[in-house]
Symmetry: D2
Subunit: 116 residues, 4 copies
């Protein structure tokens, strides 16, 4: 059987994969970054055990990514930072998405068990 | 070659398909309907020739769709109404998504050409 | 009211937007291009009035897009070509997605009406 | 810091969330279930540490879900079963998605550590 900490990490991973694959590809421009950040965070916070989600879309990166006359680009990992806190049976897991070598890496930042 | 009105209808269809398949499946609860409506509208308004998008997610339908203890459901056609206006070379197209026999139907409501 | 040709173009646009926003972001590598092409085509062919869909994912472009050690990338417009044929009330519409200035443009190629 | 087993569970969760939110909403009919199963499995197997993915879409459930004249439905959790095996630094994690009270639950089935 899995421990509570392992289960908490599994739940944290589900939220991250959900967030990324639900919203990657969304049309985005500097005009629509704030509403998209809010919707992503509030949407994923609906999921079980998800305590808080923070999404920061980088306006400058979005602007730089717009290389055609239409004035928008598609949301992708290199345009945003995400932090998340999941709590399961007393275990708290903090995760973060950040770029590493041009690839959006989802990282387990901290696992805090009740005994800690 | 396609006429401007045909091209305008094609563009309107693209926006509808984009909206539906980008956002269907998003976790939603009565707590997060407003932010999701705004993000969907502002996101799709980024697309070329898209003048305005209105999304109304039905809070009561969302609440009724929540049949498990987790307190959320997934966004689907029967939970929202969408209206859209696309303008291409002087032609204005209005579209609407509404339920018909339990299926979310995307409808061409009006095509207004410059001569009209 | 819309003409049959306008309605056919609207339907064609819906399929294109659906295809793009359903599948953009899918993890893809040269090992999985064939199965993804087939699934995309067969999936969208389910939609009303959709006669045929052809998807060609460019293996070389996928390989070139893999710039990290994990060995895959995300499906995006610049990695594939799409052709589609929609038929509505005797009107046939052919569409194609191709790159133009680095942006995946969805084009109306031909609208053939019964009288033509 | 996270243990290897916790990291393995986090990775397993990411794959599950990715799979679900990338492919939920895909148009599906009994004609296209096999190609969709294969594409989903091969797509997610591209992700890091993902050893194997098995997707079984229930043709009868798909057929029963088609309640409109168009002949297709949208892929959702109640139409498929998923099993997955993730390996990270010698730890093997097995997961399964199955229905519980009408809700597609993603479960951690087994975590096997090298010492076990």
């Amino acid at each position: 059987m899995a421990t509570d900490a392992q289960q908490a990490c599994f739940e944290a991973g589900i939220k991250f994969g959900s967030l990324y694959h639900q919203f990657a590809g969304t049309p985005v421009s500097p005009r629509s970054t704030r509403s998209l950040e809010t919707a992503i965070a509030e949407s994923i916070e609906n999921q079980p055990y998800c305590e808080s989600v923070t999404v920061a879309i980088d306006d400058d990166a979005v602007a730089a990514d717009i290389d055609h006359e239409n004035g928008y680009t598609e949301l992708s990992g290199h345009l945003m930072e995400v932090e998340m806190r999941v709590a399961y049976e007393g275990v708290t897991v903090r995760t973060r998405m950040e770029m590493e070598d041009g690839y959006p890496l989802m990282k387990l930042v901290e696992v805090v068990e009740p005994d800690d």
